[in-house]
Symmetry: C2
Subunit: 337 residues, 2 copies
DNA sequence: TTGAAAGCGCTAACAC
DNA sequence: GTGTTAGCGCTTTCAA
């Protein structure tokens, strides 16, 4: 059984209040007393029971991070950055995976397990705009992603439309006109896929290039295999294209592989651009031109914002914070042909 | 302020014990009473305060997972599997990143933050065999990895030597004789790099192939960029080789890229084999032949073993549990030339 | 500068 | 079947 304050107090011959004072760096303690207490702490190997402290203080020193799946590279890198930012602030992170499933996301929001934490950073995938009201939870929360806007909580996200438009314009500037898309979601009006597709269309329109559904590939999931499969479908249609915009890097990498297997040279025959700025996109062959949507900033800002709310800024109206993006030029799509 | 047992009891006109009984599915409650209580719970939106329950029970319902860095794909996939296995058992996971730094690993082991959890799944990278004694901690722990053996705790790990030997033998059987290595650690006797190199040498020896330090590339870190850089160094030496064994997939992928940029055809000129069975190894160009060391089994077994210890099997002597591996044949190294 | 005692919300004897 | 009550280990008034 671990030592308690009482054990330390008894050994040091003082009251538990005195021990508590020493532990919490209360300033007015006689040096001799402090030494006695510290000796007792060392002898017993005492460490404070955080659960008890939490019960008393109402705080746990932990936050929760809920993402669809850590095996998706984007969320793994996001989680790595969130945990690092939290650690710098002296807070630990409990990671939950929802699988991107709407029901599980709902369940998570009301889960008593969240009581173990002071707040939540939530990146939904299954829930949508119609579920915004469910975000009105009785604990501090920061929303990530682009499934829900103007909800009742702080929202840290990226400029999807503008960034996708910039990526498409980059391809157009480099001389491409027939730009295929991999990863669109059928009938979706909001969410990463829809917003990025919207940016794509805006860029086409501004350049006077007609939108052609024949070179748009749909897939619900954004794993590598889906990018590959969707690319095969587009190739099977037999339509011409000279570029591919993968709505994320994973899709783009899967698509690029299929292109090369099919004998299309990248970037000579087909330029490829991704979206996410993943580490691995830098080491594919060819390396992948992509858009860094500001993930690192998003992670840091989400943690800082959540901690502010936990710290008492609960009354301020909800804010939306937008990251800056930038196009990372690499080999799969050089700036000029 | 959230509702408490007292609030519910008052509203339902019963004692807190009755409410507690309802919540904990105590069998002998009159249906009418149960209904009253449930109505009150619903009306107040009551959820139990887990911190208080934990203080009482001495359990938290959370476990900690400490890995070097989630942005390393292997650990991201491991974490995803650990969290999934824990969730299936009704337990949440607090993820810590040590950066593979020995001091931070030591610090973590004594961190009071662990008091928030019932036990730890620990994958050290900086600590080594000489630190085994530090693993004798006053809480349940399961060790992962291959930095420390025969320590005082349960250990779930892979057959590094045998798996690396199998990968090398696979290359030899396919007709390769000059097999370069990417990722060796200078002077290391234990750890993933040393054990896998040992398996490599055993395979060479069994086949009567001399070991040649000229085609062994050293790098401490195992990021993609390190694989690329190390491959460049080997190429710069101007020595012949017809295969590369990357001591993990990330290194192998980085190396493969450099080979291709240098004009070596994979697998025609050089066959490449990795180690880890990462998802992304299936979608490189060419797809990467690799060894699946049984990561999924490791994750599930680590969680199950830790929960057993937490559940009271504290006295049983420490066990070492070894995963089964298998070579996954893909394009970068076909079984026959 | 230090001590005594209340109580955070819950569970589990033990009574009735 | 249901109520009373004593803590889990800590922080924090309030006194001394």
């Amino acid at each position: 059984m671990a030592a308690t304050l009482h054990d330390v107090a008894r050994l040091a011959g003082v009251s538990i209040k005195t021990v508590s004072n020493v532990i919490n760096d209360y300033p007015h303690i006689r040096p001799a007393t402090r030494e006695k207490v510290e000796a007792a702490i060392a002898e017993l190997g005492y460490t404070p029971n955080l659960t008890a402290r939490n019960l008393r203080s109402g705080r746990t020193g932990a936050i929760a991070l809920a993402v669809p799946d850590l095996s998706l590279a984007y969320f793994a890198e996001l989680a790595a950055e969130v945990i690092a930012a939290a650690e710098a602030a002296g807070v630990v992170v409990l990671v939950e995976q929802t699988g991107g499933d709407r029901d599980r996301e709902f369940e998570l929001l009301r889960s008593p397990r969240l009581k173990l934490t002071d707040g939540l950073i939530f990146s939904p995938l299954g829930m949508g705009q119609e579920d915004a009201a469910a975000l009105d939870v009785p604990y501090p929360m920061v929303l990530l992603g682009e499934r829900i806007f103007d909800g009742p909580t702080d929202h840290v996200t990226m400029r999807n439309v503008e960034a996708a438009r910039a990526a498409t314009e980059y391809l157009i500037r480099s001389g491409r006109r027939r730009i295929a898309v991999v990863g669109a979601h059928e009938g979706e009006l909001i969410g990463s896929a829809a917003l990025r597709l919207q940016g794509y269309r805006a860029a086409l329109e501004a350049a006077g290039i007609p939108y052609d559904d024949q070179i748009v590939g749909y897939t619900t999931l954004w794993h590598r295999a889906n990018g590959a499969e969707t690319m095969r479908e587009i190739l099977a249609r037999g339509v011409e294209f000279d570029a591919v915009f993968g709505l994320n890097d994973t899709l783009a990498l899967g698509a690029m592989r299929v292109l090369q297997v099919a004998g299309r040279r990248v970037p000579d025959d087909v330029a490829v651009v991704g979206f996410d700025g993943l580490d691995e996109a830098e080491y594919s062959i060819p390396s992948l031109t992509t858009v860094d949507p500001g993930r690192d900033w998003i992670a840091k800002t989400a943690v800082a914002t959540l901690l502010e709310r936990i710290g008492g800024a609960a009354e301020a109206p909800p804010r939306t914070l937008l990251a800056e993006f930038r196009v990372l030029e690499r080999e799969s799509a050089p700036a000029s042909m």
